[in-house]
């Protein structure tokens, strides 16, 4: 069934209805309060004008009217929600995998990326998976959010109407890297998207460096910066060849971050943890030797 409105429109309609009613109520209550406090101030009104303490019709009125108003708000909220849950028939399918602390998107042709590339003007259904703890897929621009739950497959759908880069946040607290788990939805024109998906020369975000591409895809940049600033893990800048102190088998040892050390760090990070950093890096055992060397080569270039 084709929905009549985008996810953004669905949520915003409900929001403006509720906000409108809210503002009217708030203004009314505030005005009454301020007026009464001024008009019946003890200086102006040394004795109360009345001791009346009940009125059944007033109670009925101010019970019935709010009831009708909240039912209206419930209705708009529910109708809008239904638009978020009815996927258009021609939606494109993308798989999203959330893990501490990065996103990985997999397309039907097997291509993977750290950013969510989508074509403009076409609905997209994102299938949500979690590899470790709860995360949540949240794109404010499209008003969509759904938790990623281990052992469960959830989904959202949205459609980008205009090209652009839209923030994508993890919205379920997941530990020390929670606020690093940020990427973007990249909405490309249909032609650019096709080019990117099939990986031809005109691809939008082509990096010459395979190592850098891997660092993005595998989520390394979620915890390691390239500008020297400290994030969850040490910065990659100047890392290669640096002398540093790590904890190995409970002992503190000085090491040089050469190629062999970096390969160990990537495959078995818990064996040697740089002193002063939390032991939270997951192992990356699935990388091919070529990819591992490409990564280390790129790290070497970051002086």
């Amino acid at each position: 069934m084709q929905p009549l409105q985008t996810t953004t429109e669905a949520v915003d309609t409900a929001f403006y209805v509720i906000l409108g009613i809210d503002l009217v109520m708030l203004l009314g209550i505030m005005t009454a309060m301020i007026w009464f406090v001024w008009r019946y101030n003890r200086k102006r009104q040394p004795l109360p004008l009345s001791q009346k303490d009940k009125n059944l019709w007033l109670e009925i009125t101010w019970t019935v009217i709010p009831t009708l108003l909240v039912m209206l708000m419930f209705w708009y909220g529910w109708e809008g929600y239904l638009s978020l849950r009815r996927i258009p028939d021609d939606a494109m399918h993308i798989k999203a995998s959330a893990r501490m602390w990065s996103w990985l998107f997999t397309y039907d042709n097997g291509k993977t990326a750290g950013k969510l590339y989508v074509p403009v003007g076409r609905p997209v259904k994102v299938e949500l998976h979690a590899e470790d703890v709860l995360h949540s897929f949240y794109v404010p621009a499209f008003r969509v959010k759904r938790d990623t739950v281990p052992g469960m497959t959830n989904w959202v759908w949205f459609e980008a109407e205009k090209p652009g880069s839209y923030d994508l946040f993890c919205a379920e607290y997941c530990g020390v890297g929670h606020s690093s788990m940020v990427t973007t939805v990249e909405a490309l024109s249909a032609a650019e998207f096709q080019a990117w998906l099939t990986g031809t020369e005109e691809a939008a975000d082509r990096t010459a460096d395979r190592g850098e591409e891997l660092a993005r895809q595998q989520g390394c940049l979620g915890c390691h910066s390239t500008d020297g600033s400290r994030k969850v893990g040490p910065s990659f800048k100047g890392l290669f060849g640096e002398t540093t102190t790590v904890t190995r088998d409970g002992q503190q040892v000085t090491v040089t971050a050469d190629a062999a050390y970096l390969a160990r760090s990537i495959r078995e990070p818990a064996a040697e943890v740089v002193v002063g950093y939390p032991p939270v890096m997951p192992p990356f055992t699935g990388l091919s030797e070529a990819d591992l060397q490409a990564l280390i080569g790129w790290l070497r270039s970051l002086q």
Partner: protein
């Protein structure tokens, strides 16, 4: 209502000067509801100050993107501790344990609560649980970093000392349960002659509704934290998909208590407001029966809405619809109260003293919080604002702008009764103004940055959110200044303020018939009640 001739407050320190044991033992082993109430009061205020300091630290870190004053792990522990302290050690016990204990038996015409020794045990459980929580900060894997909601699987995997924290919460929970049992029994069985159900002050009625939630809902929290303990210590696997468990079931269990808990927080605050407004408007509470029914309705309906915290969790769309519908139902009795409070002001004679200022702030700020709650309760809009700072703003408006302000109102209303001294009202008014301005700047900015998409529990944020975060942080400083001013003024008042008699405000409820401070036995002779709690004519005020 007969009035016993009040003893001179200038020469007698009432219950403050009559101790069973010497020194500190006269306090920590006392079964006098008033001493227990004061023990709670000072601990609660201390925990509020610690929690507020943590809040200021959070806002300092959020002054700029990236690291400002602490790293991400520390930040996560700080907001977890902020939540745990504010919720379990300040707001939930807040008004019931402090002012309920201090005032409620006197309002009923009783000499004490039904089970005074159980009452003392409740305080010991509160302190014991708090001590365990402090120990959890410095032992095991360090301070918990799960957020106060302890969601699984993260809380079962994290190496921080969640295990001891769950024992602490379990212990504190029993303090709440036993207080609830005590209060329900007291209100049923210990009312003075002539104190019919329809002559009970609205503050005590609010404690009654609250006590039922404490008794029925808190055990579920106890079970839930015990299950986390079991999952961590013996690997039961109830919440682990790899063992056939379900992480979402934890959320249901957690919120089945924690949503009604917010009504434990707010109902007593509403009760304070319901008692204060008639006194300062010299008019009976409008719609007494409607207010009573609405309190009971909120308690009941509030137990049915818990999964409105879970629309994005992956639960069914049908569940979303049912819980959204019920959530809107529970808004209605709160609205009814607001209208009845306004009607109480209408055609009264209003004195804008500090208790009323704070009570009116409750109404305004709780209304803003409640109205923004409609955005959160509606299914479509919830999807956008869930887990953003909009929600953080919403619950600070209701819990801090609501219950917090009511707590401050109760302090300004009843401290003169308890200590027999009046604080400086002009300074209190200035402090109120500073608090109000700081509060609005802080939490309105927060709601706006939330609706722009900034998630909560974020140590770092995208640069577009910087301006609003800085505005919020500046608001937190103004708020902090106001709070300090308010507390210093109250403490000076308690220590050095001008002595007051039994009834400085012109109230018609029984606590204003006894001396300030009250004697240990409360009444010289058991009172006989001959009129309602807001009958100012029969009470001789008008």
């Amino acid at each position: 209502m007969t009035s016993a001739a009040p003893a001179s407050s200038e020469t007698s320190r009432g219950f403050l000067g009559e101790a069973r044991y010497p020194g500190i033992f006269g306090w920590i082993f006392s079964t006098d509801h008033k001493r227990i109430g004061l023990l709670y009061l000072w601990c609660i205020i201390a925990f509020f100050c610690i929690g507020a300091t943590l809040g200021v630290l959070i806002r300092l870190e959020l002054w700029a993107p990236g690291r400002t004053i602490m790293d991400a792990q520390t930040y996560n522990a700080v907001f977890t501790l902020h939540g745990v302290i504010m919720i379990f050690l300040f707001i939930i016990p807040g008004i019931p344990a402090a002012f309920g204990n201090l005032i409620m038996p006197i309002q009923l015409g009783a000499r004490d609560v039904a089970f005074p020794r159980l009452n003392l045990l409740s305080w010991w459980l509160y302190i014991g649980g708090a001590i365990l929580a402090v120990i959890a900060l410095f032992t095991g894997g360090g301070p918990p970093d799960t957020g106060w909601t302890f969601y699984v699987p993260f809380s079962t995997h994290t190496t921080t000392n969640v295990t001891l924290a769950t024992v602490a919460v379990f212990t504190i929970g029993f303090s709440s349960i036993l207080t609830g049992i005590n209060f329900v029994t007291t209100i049923h069985r210990l009312r003075a002659e002539g104190m019919t159900w329809t002559r009970i002050p609205l503050f005590t009625w609010s404690l009654y509704a609250t006590a039922w939630i404490q008794v029925l809902a808190t055990p579920v929290l106890g079970i839930t934290v015990a299950l986390i303990f079991a999952e961590r210590v013996i690997g039961t696997g109830l919440f682990d998909p790899a063992q056939g468990g379900d992480p979402i079931m934890f959320q249901h269990l957690f919120w089945i208590y924690s949503h009604p808990a917010v009504y434990i927080m707010v109902l007593p605050g509403m009760g304070v407001v319901s008692d204060i407004i008639p006194v300062f408007a010299r008019k009976p509470a409008f719609g007494y029966k409607a207010i009573v029914v609405s309190s009971l309705a909120i308690a009941f309906a509030g137990s049915l809405v818990w999964a409105h915290h879970m629309y994005t969790s992956g639960m069914s769309d049908l569940a979303v619809m049912v819980f959204s519908f019920l959530t809107f139902i529970v808004a209605i009795p709160s609205a009814v109260k607001v209208f009845n409070w306004l009607a109480t002001l209408y055609q009264g004679s209003i004195l804008l003293d500090p208790p009323l200022l704070f009570a009116l702030s409750f109404i305004l700020l709780f209304t803003i919080g409640g109205l923004s709650g409609l955005v959160v309760g509606a299914a479509a809009t919830n999807i956008h604002v869930h887990d953003t700072h909009f929600v953080v703003g919403h619950f600070h408006f209701t819990m801090f702008g609501g219950t917090g302000m009511a707590f401050f109102a109760a302090l300004h209303y009843w401290l003169p009764k308890i200590y027999g001294r009046m604080y400086d009202k002009a300074v209190a008014t200035v402090a109120w103004g500073v608090i109000f301005v700081g509060f609005c700047i802080l939490y309105l900015s927060m709601k706006i940055v939330g609706i722009m998409g900034m998630p909560r529990r974020y140590w770092d944020y995208v640069p577009e959110f910087t301006g609003l975060n800085q505005l919020a942080t500046a608001g937190s400083w103004i708020l902090a200044v106001g709070l300090v001013l308010m507390f210093v003024n109250l403490i000076r008042g308690v220590l050095y303020g001008a002595p007051v008699g039994a009834n400085p405000w012109g109230g018609a409820t029984l606590e204003w018939q006894v001396p300030s401070p009250p004697p240990t036995e409360n009444f010289e002779a058991d009172p006989v009640v001959t009129h309602g709690p807001y009958d100012f004519k029969k009470a001789g005020i008008l």
